[in-house]
Symmetry: C2
Subunit: 269 residues, 2 copies
Amino acid sequence: MTRKELTHQIRDKQSFLCVGLDPDLTRLPRFFLDFEDPVFEFNKRVIDATKDFCVAYKPNVAFYEALGTGGWQALAKTLDYIPETHFTIADAKRGDIGNTSRLYATTFFQTFDFDAVTIAPYMGEDSVAPFLEFKDRWVILLALTSNAGSSDFQFYKNDVGKPLFQHVIERAMTWGDSNNLMFVVGATQGTHLRQIRTIAPDHFLLVPGVGAQGGDLSTVVTEGKNQDIGLLVNASRSIIFAGTEAHDFDHLVSSAAKSLQSEMSILLL
Amino acid sequence: MTRKELTHQIRDKQSFLCVGLDPDLTRLPRFFLDFEDPVFEFNKRVIDATKDFCVAYKPNVAFYEALGTGGWQALAKTLDYIPETHFTIADAKRGDIGNTSRLYATTFFQTFDFDAVTIAPYMGEDSVAPFLEFKDRWVILLALTSNAGSSDFQFYKNDVGKPLFQHVIERAMTWGDSNNLMFVVGATQGTHLRQIRTIAPDHFLLVPGVGAQGGDLSTVVTEGKNQDIGLLVNASRSIIFAGTEAHDFDHLVSSAAKSLQSEMSILLL
């Protein structure tokens, strides 16, 4: 999907919501366990309930990989089920030497047909470049993550006080542009979001950490929005686990997504 | 596997060779394509030909993941086929927020039964800690990699000139110890190997980059060996693709491994 198509969808729906499809088996409502493929059935119901309120879906590959070959089948079926209109992100956080990263790129962009993959920057340019060679596909590079451990290395400062995450963003902007490269910036990193928006005014930012992780949506919009909106805000647990019983599952999941979308539409005014 | 058992094996075999099981389908000798599961058949033959000369096997997960569900089945069968005596490493370079890293740990240590997993450090402590909770299992953390892109971020220096890779090693040594934590240091990083050995005198180092990537074995031993040897040197392409025809495949692969083992045994004198 192109940047233009994504932006068009966001404006059209007044939503920059990405729903994280992280079907943790230990948290799946019990009634799904009666189905032959509980994970796919769960995702299908979540997608049906949320597709009108979001523009993107982000399955975190860990949750599928943990289930063995059945998990990969569920991931493939889920990706097939997501409407063509929606942007799809494999949250895989991959990154390896060049010839191996090329294989990962083939996996996620060809074997599967994702629009985007999340990538860890530690191994540098040749670990990222193979993903950027695919037309109309995206690298979403970890820059400043939402977790506690983000303070261990991402704020490592050079002699003029520039933190590693800024160096990562600046270097990566010489490898790709705002049509094939986004950055992950945690919603919990509010004060740094403005700084990152200054460094990368045109790039889309994928912002996890709203909801269960405690990030604030209005701060994200105030600090991170650009002229094309330029944000995808991800929520996973607060939406997909909003319902626990069969009779009102769809309604509660749908309401959780709709509520975030409403908030977004007001913040975009 | 414990550190003591691994060290015992290394001394016993006079080998610290790890064979990288990276069955790139485009490079697999053609005669394997006649088998129902070419990847597993290839690995089986490589394992039979090399097991007397190496102490560890390291499948890079990318090569299996790229083949879809069949690839994961081949990985499971390969892991089952590796003799109990050998140390097994899932070269996965994973790393995610705490609850997700916990799932990856379950995947590689329980769904599969690997001794060790390679981990990318960018997301910090909570992305690494869940792997360290498993008894007699290992985290092998990327520190200074063998690829060209290693210069992009791993040498990022703070105000007193300390490079990021050193900071990563020092921080990680507060999370794990020499019984559950190793570091990846590329064989192509010769001059820094001694520096890393000074920082982490007791930890095992996993050293890729000998062979196809151009690293020198004797430098690795001179700069990196400690009192327990403390090295696992990985070679992949130079061993597993040493043979191309059915009639001498096993012999050539075996010879390539034996030749590295002989070199190692001399360097250990």
